[in-house]
């Protein structure tokens, strides 16, 4: 199936282990993305919020319609807010559920990366009635195993912290690791850019690895304003089946990407994406979002004079943990379907987007 110019699984593994907490994507994640994007686009630039914007010129006479693809490259993480006596670190969360932290290994990006441990009181010393009480972020601390003076030399207030997690290859094409939300989305954009080589593309395509999605869709807000696309598709992750969650609330892993419908989505873009999937014989699932989709699509839709938005999601289990789990095949399918969709984004289609009857 795959005759892509790059290995999707290898990219996902590399991207997952790259680090770039919201606002700090330029540390490392951004260059991993930029490197992978080179060769697939004509130009790459960064904007004031460090979004990586890859521009791929369309075919035929200008001016051409503009399609923007957005996958966010920031990951959730922590930020050091105080160095305590004896060198323990107090942290604030950037999108992290504190309940996954006790007992987790982390990396503190001080003067150099340092291994840290989110310490826990041993169960023997916890009163039975408190055993099931979740600890709040305020109560957690990181132990670097270093004396206080060393810590103060190597770490400052404001330094970022990520999960320490290798990628795990599970059965079949299932991968598990941190930051699949939403480096998988960036992966989809790369697949799409690669696939576009097969088609005559009537539109200019902007593949954007956005920043700061987890703290308020901030990268996408400014990137969209700068690009002024006619169509904006966000690629993110959605909840795949999980024990304890009613089935009708989730999508299924390995059954193809989910395409969203609802107020945040332009009906003709939704139809166009479904049509592209049908034409390629790619299985897709429908995701209904009554209001905000919680993705960059929410920001793109109301930029400037309006953008016709769509959302393609990769089913993913255990979102916002360090063991986010997905199927590589879903990522490839999503990329191929987007390329097919974009190949049909001509002037006539764009005109339809502001026509209602």
């Amino acid at each position: 199936m795959s005759n892509l110019s790059f290995n999707v699984k290898e990219f996902l593994k590399k991207a997952s282990m790259a680090y770039g907490v919201s606002g700090h994507e330029f540390y490392n994640a951004a260059s991993v993305v930029e490197e992978a994007m080179t060769g697939l686009v004509d130009e790459i630039r960064r904007d004031p919020l460090h979004n990586i914007i890859g521009y791929r010129k369309g075919d035929g006479e200008g001016p051409r319609p503009k399609v923007m693809l957005a996958g966010h490259m920031d990951e959730i993480g922590l930020l050091v807010k105080k160095i305590e006596e004896r060198g323990f670190l107090r942290v604030t969360g950037i999108g992290v559920d504190p309940r996954v932290l006790p007992g987790h290994e982390v990396i503190v990006y001080g003067r150099r990366p340092l291994t840290g441990l989110v310490g826990v009181k041993p169960p023997h010393l916890i009163a039975p009635e408190n055993a099931m009480k979740a600890q709040k972020m305020e109560d957690l601390f990181i132990d670097l195993g270093l004396p206080e003076e060393e810590v103060r030399k190597l770490v400052r207030v404001g330094d970022v912290v990520t999960y320490k997690r290798q990628v795990t290859e599970l059965q079949g094409d299932v991968l598990s690791g941190k930051s699949m939300d939403d480096r998988a989305g960036v992966g989809v954009i790369l697949v799409c850019l690669d696939e576009l080589r097969k088609y005559k593309v009537p539109a200019d395509v902007y593949g954007v690895a956005t920043t700061q999605e987890e703290v308020g869709l901030r990268g996408a807000t400014v990137a969209t304003y700068g690009i002024k696309p006619d169509i904006g598709i966000a690629i993110d992750v959605c909840h795949a089946e999980t024990p304890g969650v009613p089935e009708w609330r989730t999508s299924q892993l390995g059954k193809g990407p989910a395409i969203a419908t609802g107020g945040n989505i332009h009906p003709k873009v939704f139809q166009g994406l479904k049509k592209a999937a049908e034409e390629l014989g790619i299985p897709v699932q429908t995701e209904v979002a009554p209001g905000p989709t919680g993705t960059d699509a929410w920001a793109m839709q109301v930029s400037g004079e309006g953008v016709a938005t769509g959302l393609v999601s990769i089913p993913l289990r255990y979102m916002h943990t360090s063991v986010e789990t997905l199927s590589v095949g879903d990522v490839e399918k999503a990329g191929r379907l987007l390329a097919k969709f974009i190949a049909a984004c001509d002037e006539a289609f764009v005109k339809e987007l502001t026509t209602w009857n």
Partner: protein, 338 residues
Amino acid sequence: MELRELTSLVGVSGNEDEVRRAIMRELEAMGVSYETDTMGNIIARKGDKGPRLMVDAHMDEVGLIIVHIEKSGFLRFYPIGVPAAVLPSKRVLVGKDKVPGVIGAKAIHLQERRERDSVIPVDQLTIDIGAKSKEEAERKVKVGDYAVFDTEYEELSPGIIKAKALDDRVGCALLLELLKEPWENVQVYAVFSTQEELGIRGAKVASYRVNPDMGIALEGTVCADIPGTDPEGYATQIGKGAVLSVMDRGTITHKGMLNQLVKLATENQIPFQYREATSGGNDAMAIHQARAGCPVAAISVPCRYIHSPFSVMSMADFEAARKLLIAFVKSVEGGFRP
């Protein structure tokens, strides 16, 4: 177009098709030019010179969206703007074909004692269209379809109207009334916006495009002059006239515009009242923060029971709002600047 027709049209936030179509036809019949955008807003214009005055009403209403069809044929849904408490035991119309359905509730005989103390949560409710299987249901409706309450427009007593979606079809009606007047020295941008109930979405895009010098939002607003509420909690009262907002979660009304509205109402003996609440929000929130900003105010009609299957208003209040709106726009035409 009368309120009877306007309120009967179906247009839940996210799919305002039917309402938009009807308003477009009405504007064409009136000879008023308009444009539409990616959000589905209608931006109509009347008047060639003078300041750009944006007057806005939202076309969308609260309702439900179908998220899943069970094997048994029941429809699972999410509410859009509707609190769970008003859902059980109601009739709805689903999808473009307005397929009738009912939101059943577990019979009280089958409930446990402690269940009776709580509002039935949404995930315990389904819409029943009478289908006996998923296949049968899918012949009539699909996932992603919207549903509205099946409420008939009725005049309960002279001038007292019951209907669904008075929030904000009263605003749409006022806007159409405004467009009936001749406007020359003020550029009236009449915006029929979408998805207000999802977070002031259509108006954000429309106001960026219009780039107004000032704006007025028209709403069907909260009215709680009912038993169990103290006077300080009424917000507005039926029969006391056009409602002027002072502040809500999204906007602090511009003092200059508010003073002008009060002055015009007093001079013209138009009954008015203040919106005595600071909760809620409306399209003014987006309008006044568009681009480099502009002064805004809101004129509303009190409607009891909004965000439920029905609402109640008084035509006398509607008439007061209409007169005040027209008087205000005339004053802008005559040189008023906030």
